[in-house]
Symmetry: none
Subunit: 217 residues, 2 copies
Amino acid sequence: MANILIVEDDLDIHNVLEEILKKAGFTYSHVYSGSEAMLLLEKNKYDLILLDLMLPALSGEKIISQVSDTPIIVISAKISPSDKVNALSLGANDYLTKPFNKDELLARINVQLRNSKPLNKDLSYKDLKLLNDNRTLLIGENKINLTKTEYAILKHLIINQKEVVPKNKLLDLISNDTLDGDENSLKVHISNIRKKLKKYSKNNYIESIWGIGFKMS
Amino acid sequence: MANILIVEDDLDIHNVLEEILKKAGFTYSHVYSGSEAMLLLEKNKYDLILLDLMLPALSGEKIISQVSDTPIIVISAKISPSDKVNALSLGANDYLTKPFNKDELLARINVQLRNSKPLNKDLSYKDLKLLNDNRTLLIGENKINLTKTEYAILKHLIINQKEVVPKNKLLDLISNDTLDGDENSLKVHISNIRKKLKKYSKNNYIESIWGIGFKMS
DNA sequence: ACTAAATCTTAAGCTTTTCTTAACTGGTTT
DNA sequence: AAACCAGTTAAGAAAAGCTTAAGATTTAGT
């Protein structure tokens, strides 16, 4: 049976969700904050995430951006179309507003589970390989230590290696809200990654797509 | 760009859906009954179906049961959880109730399209092909780098390849401030695109319609 | 809880790419 | 012919990217 992660800080709803999943026969883990969620997500593999948006410590949106290989159903009190559009664009697969109907939730959970292909994304590109410890990169035989942010950026680029990754997608991986100055920060991270790569390979790997974003090359 | 099938018997909503898809740059077919839908589905391949439930001739539920390889978003006036659960269990991937929000619909459409991978349908005209990376054009085998603006202009022309695109439509794609001097700028962009095209083909591709705008030819 | 180390962000200066402006040419319409 | 529109070119402005270094923040170890 599927393994589900509940991320919800409201105690009542949290309990309701647990109840629903338990009755339906799912196994699940459950946390009350975004940061706890990230800790678990780094360690374990889930088939689905039920995610609140307004969370302490780390917003739901940030989590959506950082998760790429697990389907997410957002369950939020935010009912405005722009909130929905935002979450769905960032990578959520579905969006339910509170209060939700138990049976509808279960049906939507089953949609996600039946659609999720057993795809274990390979985190390698050419002679680069990301270890799943969130900080190590191999170039051929050489180990390179990355920071958490550098790892997240490179992971995102490698998973979408066929496509151009827009800057704002990458920005979601890093900053905490301030959408202005962050672009600069992203540039620095990219620069630092390139510097580390340059030590071991003449290859450039990360190509800038002017005005749009970046892409593995 | 994705190819979508609209199945909706209510004339008003049908038109609204067409409008939304057209503006978003999708290609689509559209029918007013379940039986028509099945005819098209047997002949053609679609990336997504927007489906009403209460249809003449053949119910939406029937269609859901018969379709297995194309994602379906139900758009229905039926708001009860049991109807939703039913449609989702039968095989629909999402369920929106009328009246729906245009942006939310688009976001949910994009969720379905991004999850059903090979969505790399590139725009093409004759031997021109725009890759969906926002900057690359293929003429036959030859790669040409376009700028963001050049790409936007050419994309617009190719999407509306049957029609004359007025200059002011194209102007909207570039800067939004000075509505005067921009016409000059557009001319330069067109000129630059033509120059790049000329390197690889004798064809002119972009035809000027005197006093009105441009058109692929 | 304190300190040191690691990491992230901000700022600045410099480079590259893209966009706009302007000037000139030539064709079209009335 | 005059007014208007289209096409090309070149130059400078504007925007985006790169790198470095310093200050701020976070993390980890004691």
